[in-house]
């Protein structure tokens, strides 16, 4: 039997298993919106841990991470640095959000914000910005899945078919079972990813160079500029410290503001579970080390892939690994893509319906659930169309999406901790910050010290929020009591 046939069989088996777990998970869950969006607030530690980890580590980490290590060297360390920093504040913020969720019945981030700052327009604005940030993120995942499948099947399964099959499965279980399916498939896929990444990350440097230290000694001897922080740009010039540092900052600030991650606070069974998840989260971050090692192992390897994002499949195929290993690797990369894609699709539907449509039209629970399922299909279809574009620079789109997402941070912090903040203040801040970020995204040559546009947005956002809040009248004490006790 030809290698690609064996590989395809392994992938098919893996996808079938994922689908089964996803469909099984929905049984026993209540038919309500809380059931679909927040899994009846029932997730225990194991599920929470992998849900969070697997939704953070996407095709970006699995394909983009090694790609950066391979082409930009030390620049990739920024990805390593931001996760722990971004997650730690959630030790306090998470339980507080969860408590308010239980008290007021919130299931999305925008509900929490507009609970404190009542405004339909604010809710609609958050839903819109979330969706703008979500679409390129889903697109990246789909394209990632398609690329991996195409590469390892020698082009016998093209991108359009690979991404359609992988995401057909994701959509099937997200539609049928919502949050519960996302939880259980992520647990399964999360374990899978960790095992595959460590095995390959340790195997390749040993097999090709005789050890990890030996590999880096050789890289330092032949390509010293690569490992000199902060690494290189995409074109091989030295990267700037301004860009490196603000990439860490914007990603750390934006990380927990992603609606699909923020919503985890509402799915946790109790605060204890959530705190444990936060504590253990940096261990997931260390999982990037083997992923980077895979990328670094390609540096001195003869030949190069068509694009640095393909370094992982390239290394797997060029080192004559057995078909079984190639198949398992492919399943691991698919896990990374699908476990983020499903959470994104699920969250985008919840956000658009709960925070967008529902604010302006009154829908029954049943109609809401139907509409959410419709949005999952629609978002999936839009992303699928974009995913077929061979020139789409998705890593760049994702970095820009972070510029939008991190603008939610001052709003959330003001809602939770600043009594004097007003509705007008947060709306003005959000608009000013987003416009600034968008402006610098369009005009990158104007950015001071090559800083990330998201940070420049925040520099305008925060004073606007504070200034407008202080000149508008404070919220009534009675309203504030519901949020602060």
């Amino acid at each position: 039997m030809e290698q690609w046939v064996v590989v395809t069989i392994i992938i098919a088996a893996y996808l079938a298993l994922t689908l089964t777990i996803g469909l099984m998970a929905g049984r026993g869950q209540s038919d309500s919106v809380t059931g679909y969006v927040a899994a009846d607030r029932s997730f225990g530690l194991l599920v929470m841990y992998f849900v969070t980890g697997a939704s953070v580590f996407s095709a970006f980490a699995f394909l983009g991470g090694p790609g950066w290590a391979y082409s930009r060297g030390a620049a990739a360390f920024y990805i390593l640095a931001y996760g722990a920093l971004g997650m730690a504040p959630f030790y306090w913020v998470g339980p507080r959000v969860a408590k308010l969720g239980r008290q007021h019945g919130f299931v999305t981030q925008a509900q929490l914000i507009t609970g404190r700052f009542p405004s339909k327009n604010l809710s609609g604005l958050i839903a819109l910005l979330s969706l703008i940030a979500f679409v390129p993120y889903v697109t990246l995942q789909m394209r990632g899945a398609g690329i991996v499948i195409e590469a390892v099947t020698d082009g016998n399964v093209p991108i359009w078919l690979g991404s359609a099959v992988a995401y057909g499965i994701v959509i099937a279980y997200v539609l049928s079972a919502g949050a519960m399916a996302v939880g259980w498939t992520n647990t399964f896929q999360g374990i899978f990813m960790v095992v595959i990444a460590w095995s390959l990350g340790l195997y390749l440097p040993n097999a090709l160079y005789g050890g990890i230290g030996e590999m880096f000694t050789q890289i330092i001897a032949e390509r010293p500029e690569l490992l000199d922080p902060p690494g290189l740009t995409a074109t091989g010039e030295p990267w700037s410290w301004g860009a490196y540092s603000t990439f860490i900052l914007v990603s750390a600030i934006g990380l927990m503001m992603w609606p699909h991650l923020f919503m985890k606070a509402f799915t946790a069974k109790d605060d204890e579970t959530m705190r444990r998840t936060v504590i253990l989260f940096p261990t997931f971050q260390l999982f990037l080390i083997p992923v980077f090692l895979i990328g670094f192992s390609g540096v001195l390897f003869p030949g190069s892939p068509s694009s640095s994002d393909f370094i992982l499949p390239f290394m797997i195929l060029e080192t004559d690994l057995p078909a079984l290993v190639v198949g398992l690797f492919c399943a691991g990369a698919l896990s990374a893509s699908m476990s983020t894609g499903d959470a994104l699709l699920h969250a985008s539907a919840s956000v658009v319906v709960e925070d967008g449509v529902q604010q302006f039209v009154d829908l029954s629970e049943r109609a809401q659930r139907r509409l959410m399922q419709g949005i999952v299909l629609l978002t999936g279809a839009i992303a699928y169309v974009f995913a077929q574009d061979p020139d789409s620079s998705l890593v760049l789109l994702l970095a820009s999406a972070y510029g939008v997402i991190c603008q939610f941070a001052p709003t959330v912090i003001a809602a939770l901790y600043w009594k004097r903040a007003t509705t007008k203040g947060v709306i003005a801040g959000l608009i000013a910050g987003t416009i600034t970020a968008f402006f610098f995204w369009q005009n990158p040559e104007l950015k001071p010290h090559e800083m990330h546009e998201g940070i420049l947005g925040l520099i305008v956002h925060i004073p606007t929020l504070v200034g407008i809040s202080l000149v508008t009248s404070a919220q009534e004490a009675e309203h504030l009591e519901k949020f602060f006790d």
Binding site: A74, F77, L80, A81, G83, A84, L85, A88, P89, Y91, W92, P95, R96, K99, G211, I212, G213, E214, M215, F216, T217, I220, P224, L227, D228, P229, P230, W241, G242, Y244, S245, I248, L249, A252, D271, R275, R276, V278, I279, L280, P282, T283, Q285, L286, I289, F292
Partner: protein
């Protein structure tokens, strides 16, 4: 340890971490050699801060738990 002290220390750790993994705190440690456990120095340096973060949060949680069980409050 007192709850407030523990929280301040945990927050301080993460602020220090932010300083030491970005400019300018990272500058003295921004180098490839010596290799630590086979990894470039900067990579090992960041990994060490991440591991420290786990330890720091576990210690904080131990203190917090003692206070939570004592007065039954959830924060």
């Amino acid at each position: 340890m007192n709850l407030k002290t523990a929280r301040i220390l945990a927050a301080a750790y993460h602020i220090l971490m932010l300083y030491f993994v970005t400019w300018p705190g990272l500058l003295p440690f921004a180098k490839a050699e010596p290799l630590v456990f086979g990894l470039p120095f900067t990579m090992a340096w960041i990994a060490a801060w991440i591991s420290g973060s786990v330890v720091c949060l576990i210690l904080l949680d131990t203190v917090e738990k003692r206070y939570r069980t004592k007065d039954g409050a959830d924060d």
